[in-house]
Symmetry: C2
Amino acid sequence: MDYLVMLPGPTNVPNRVMNAMLTHIINHRSDDFRDLYKAIVEKTQRVFQTHNDIVLLTTSGTGAVEASVINIIRKDDKVIIPVNGEFGTRLADLIDSWGGHAIRVKAPFGQNPPYSEIEEAFDQNKDIKAIYAVYNETSTGTTLRYLDKLSQLCSESGAFFIVDAVSILGGDELPVDKWNVDICVTASQKALAAPPGVSPISISPRAKKHMQANPPPTQYLNLKRYFKYYEENFETPFTPALPLFHAFSEALDLVLEEGLNKRILRHKACADAFYEGLNAMGLSPFAKQDARSNVVIAVNYMPGMDDKRFRGLLSQQFRVLVAGGFGELKGKVFRIGSMGEVNKYHVMRTLSSVAYSMNILGLNVSPDAASIALKRMENVM
Amino acid sequence: MDYLVMLPGPTNVPNRVMNAMLTHIINHRSDDFRDLYKAIVEKTQRVFQTHNDIVLLTTSGTGAVEASVINIIRKDDKVIIPVNGEFGTRLADLIDSWGGHAIRVKAPFGQNPPYSEIEEAFDQNKDIKAIYAVYNETSTGTTLRYLDKLSQLCSESGAFFIVDAVSILGGDELPVDKWNVDICVTASQKALAAPPGVSPISISPRAKKHMQANPPPTQYLNLKRYFKYYEENFETPFTPALPLFHAFSEALDLVLEEGLNKRILRHKACADAFYEGLNAMGLSPFAKQDARSNVVIAVNYMPGMDDKRFRGLLSQQFRVLVAGGFGELKGKVFRIGSMGEVNKYHVMRTLSSVAYSMNILGLNVSPDAASIALKRMENVM
């Protein structure tokens, strides 16, 4: 039996999307490719809710996040960044190692720093070049719920607003133009439910202008080259991962056929079902209530649940994949990716498998979870 | 009818390799992935003829070439590099923009700089950090035929020997250990006949040691991270392009099933058939005889052959894809990728389509090409 992939990326990929990879090889310097790439750009704009330029990189999400740093940040540039998990830490470290100065507004993992602390950091530092925000912190299952306010702070000051939306775009609200996001980064294998290996990025006109005037000393993630090749020929500067481009195009079709709003409601309903169902089973989420993600559910282990044993049971006896903890949360939590194609069958199979695995570990689990979870999803599925 | 993809990458991908992409999504932090990645590493070592470390990057070849620069070159490092085409130029420019100092030993496009000029440059410059060589210059159809001598120069002086073998590895001789290649880079979609999007790179122990002591200020192409993740867990630091990893693994199986020597002989025979067949049709290769590539055949247009019209006929009337010229050769040559799965049917279909397209353009073509080409391939296919 195939795995049910409840990871926070890669996630389950629909057959239609997988099969698109079998499209025969084409010339990436031909109209065949130009038509494909133009269509991807236009569909990505609709999913990002933006008119900004779109680039599709042949990299994982990390590559695209790195592009958002090396194309904008120069020596001693000051950047404010909320940090409350592994991916925020990693991004802040990259900004520093690249020569920038990351001002970290920290919160304990599982919580968001209060918005007032960001404002404070902003007031205390002059010449802030950009605010970077990891919208969904995949390592802890938290979502930053004040992007609109960060947007306003940037608009007022002229700072660039840069959003790492790798694990969330397509699964929660992110109107790029409305929130004036200068650079928005996501990846194919998360809430957009395509295979991993390509990562789209949107760039506002003012960010683009800045990048064109200050290109980085490298080639592969140098966005100026991507703009040039697209404007001149609707091509990428370097050979694109063709099968993944076809698959991503198909995945975007699925998003647009469902409709973004409906998709976001579905994610919300599945997340609610997970949180309440797990709660009924005696399991608590790692994230504080007001920070909880609708796409990554991080769950505290209770005594008697050994990470390796529990996830081994889930994988080997039920063919359900969930992730372990990351960094300092290793062994302390498990994480469910509730994203992409997630629907009530996924939720119910995951919850029942979690319950049965707990039973095998000798833990008693209340039977209420089943109907509680179902109820949460009845209106949207 | 599907295209016959005679491009210098991407090239025709066998069905077995395409279908491997449909393997169900797995957890890239699990034994499922570790087993896959270990197998890829071991098979890549055999194809590279090396015991060196192997990293498989989720990038095009350019990304892997960039990794060979940013992980080795530091400010003011002197590098010698033969330059006789677009890709050599691009690599030398990257070395300079990254802060190094590229000493270009130039030759007219279509020729290799004499080895004596490289030796001279070496003698005239102290403290050469590395010699970079683009083994096969895809833009002009030339192959550098003295890698063994460059290797010796490096061994004697202690300089790193770095080979961009993107468009050739698997299609011509390249014994990495025998030639003491410190960093060898290739890409999936060329002579290894996998889909584009992943690029393997081999790193010698001394190059690895140097990289671990001097990591670059970035993350995505920082090889120190890849070594760490592989040594600790047989994983990649960032989400790998899983379907392309499966496909690449299958492509390596095909290479090893055929046998490297047999594969190289097949490439040589097909190249000979192309050169002699095209010659019989009145078409001359762009490259000088002693520099001619066995994997990329660059052909001068004769009067009456307009690039757009000719390649349009080939593509639209015969479903055969060949590439145009690159940079300053645009409109002056067309380029045939004779690599990967190339066999006598590919060669004969390509040659007959070229001849018919020339006929449509009003050019008379000698009928001798057909039997001349066939004869060249009779012993190996």
